[in-house]
């Protein structure tokens, strides 16, 4: 929604990046996105099925009604983004991309008849796997909400009068001792890690910032939204903010052709701008 078209027009026209129809430049060389940071984000997904489910669910789609075309495109866009950023992807992600491509191509072929080809419909297999995975994803969440000894409940183990003294004390098995040490050290590291995460970069705050920047502008290159100065955590926060904005349907992600960088715009803006050249500005980032 171009509520402030003036802002947009007023901007100096630097090297324009064509989006629709024409190949985009590479990511600016000076843009530093540590691959590790994006790996962290990728790790938020438990694999290709989880990523696919996310793409389906965020559009409130039923698994049985997946518009395979659209979802496959988005999936591939994610994968390409990762590859573009030189993230080493687990083979499973690429396998899934290939599977989606195959389904897509098969769906373009005319179906001989409604009943004929059920047997090896790759789409049926994908849906089966997605359903099965979601089933256990939900089951895992359910199991986690059950009250658990040590987290929500305590077992009672009282000592007794008088027996206290002669109560035999076991000698620890060395393995138990080592395990205890390993765990306490891990916890200490985790603790340190948490403190890093609590840096004053909040996802919500970043969401507002990004939204504000996108207001009244056309498609903005994804990569220009990552401030160089904030390092790894800044990239993570920005990426999470973008995912969250997309999830809440506040912004739209777009990729115009394979391998083209992703661009973002305020949701609904595309309609307004249709028919324009869609020449947008790379705002010579700060």
């Amino acid at each position: 929604m171009s509520e402030h078209p003036a802002d947009f027009v007023d901007e100096p026209p630097p090297a324009a990046i064509l989006v629709r129809g024409e190949r985009l430049d590479q990511l600016p060389d000076d843009l530093y996105i540590p691959p590790d940071a994006l790996r962290v984000i990728l790790e938020a997904f438990e694999g290709p099925l989880d990523l696919l489910l996310y793409l389906i669910r965020r559009q409130n789609l039923d698994i049985l009604d997946i518009p395979i075309q659209r979802v496959a495109q988005q999936y591939v866009a994610y994968i390409e983004l990762m590859q573009e950023l030189q993230i080493e992807l687990a083979g499973e992600y690429l396998l899934m991309a290939a599977m989606l491509a195959e389904i897509k191509s098969r769906m373009l072929l005319p179906r001989p008849s409604a009943e004929d080809d059920e047997g090896d419909d790759p789409r049926a297999e994908l849906v089966r796997r997605l359903q099965e995975y979601e089933q256990f994803k939900t089951a895992a969440e359910n199991v986690d909400t059950l009250p658990r000894v040590g987290r929500d409940m305590a077992v009672v183990q009282l000592s007794a009068e008088q027996v206290d003294i002669d109560r035999p004390q076991p000698i620890p098995a060395l393995a138990d001792l080592l395990l205890a040490f390993k765990e306490v050290m891990q916890r200490a590291e985790l603790f340190a890690h948490h403190q890093i995460e609590r840096e004053p970069l909040s996802v919500r705050e970043r969401m507002s910032g990004i939204l504000q920047r996108l207001q009244g502008r056309g498609a903005t290159p994804f990569s220009s939204l990552f401030p160089k100065s904030e390092g790894r955590m800044g990239v993570v926060v920005t990426f999470l903010a973008i995912l969250e904005l997309v999830r809440e349907a506040l912004v739209e992600v777009e990729q115009t052709e394979p391998y083209a960088p992703l661009s973002l715009q305020v949701a609904g803006a595309r309609g307004d701008r249709r028919g324009n050249d869609d020449v947008i500005t790379s705002d010579g980032d700060d």
């Binding site: 438990e46 694999g47 290709p48 099925l49 989880d50 039923d62 698994i63 049985l64 009604d65 518009p67 687990a90 499973e92 899934m96 409604a114 059920e118 789409r123 049926a124 849906v127 089966r128 796997r129 359903q131 099965e132 995975y133 979601e134 089933q135 256990f136 994803k137 939900t138 089951a139 895992a140 969440e141 359910n142 199991v143 986690d144 059950l146 009250p147 658990r148 000894v149 040590g150 987290r151 929500d152 409940m153 305590a154 077992v155 009672v156 183990q157 009282l158 000592s159 007794a160 395990l179 916890r187 985790l190």
Partner: protein, 220 residues
């Protein structure tokens, strides 16, 4: 009189034990203290259970036997007592655990098939170390992969008596529904179809989260 004595002994043992005690075990431990039979022990257990009903500490029966525990009502308070919050279990671990719980016996390869990603050794190790899962056998195929199942410790830790007490798996819809949905999609029909299909228990419109009615299905 005698009954009271059994009750006290059972109470003392359960309060001091470091894990649940079975009726059989209680019987052995009480062999010199009046040697009550199992029926008498069971009577004592239910008397204790009602004595402690409504208290902060309750007597419950879990997979491994009977034990006293402070319930989840006091979870917040217990957290403060322990100071350190136990680390959260990762999604990868929970999903692996759920697959082992609902699909046991299951091999690592089969878990990977459902999850669509490889299962790290450290997850399996962690589950084995917590004694939530164990190797229950080996599949007689090349490589003889280990088959995993859950332990009674797992159920004990969740305050459950039987595997069937786990929440039931969300139902998977029939694949035939898929074709119906695909046809609908192709036809561009967005209207709901009445769920009269006799081959499917749920229509595509029913959300997947609808509870499966029989957990035993899920556990096969």
């Amino acid at each position: 009189m005698i009954e009271e004595k059994i009750l006290g002994c059972v109470e003392a043992l359960l309060m001091a034990a470091d894990g649940p005690l079975t009726v059989a075990r209680l019987e052995i431990l009480l062999a010199e203290d009046g040697a009550p039979d199992r029926k008498a022990i069971r009577t004592a257990l239910s008397a204790l259970q009602s004595d402690y009903a409504g208290r902060a500490v309750n007597l419950v029966e879990v997979a491994g036997g009977w034990r006293f525990r402070v319930g989840a009502d006091y979870a917040g308070l217990l957290g403060k007592l322990w100071e350190e919050r136990p680390p959260k279990l990762s999604r990868a671990l929970l999903e692996t655990l759920a697959l082992i719980a609902y699909r046991q016996p299951i091999s690592r390869g089969e878990i990977e098939e459902v999850r669509g990603v490889s299962v790290s050794s450290s997850i399996i190790k962690t589950l084995l170390e917590r004694e939530w899962v164990r190797v229950v056998g080996y599949r007689e195929v090349p490589g003889r992969p280990a088959l995993f199942g859950t332990t009674s410790q797992f159920l004990d830790d969740l305050d459950l008596k039987r595997l069937e007490d786990l929440p039931s798996l969300p139902e998977i819809r029939d694949l035939d529904d898929l074709d119906a949905a695909a046809d609908r999609l192709r036809a561009g029909a967005s209207d709901e179809q009445e769920g009269e299909d006799d081959h499917a228990s749920t229509t595509p419109e029913v959300p997947a989260a609808d509870d499966a009615d029989s957990p035993s299905d899920a556990l096969h």
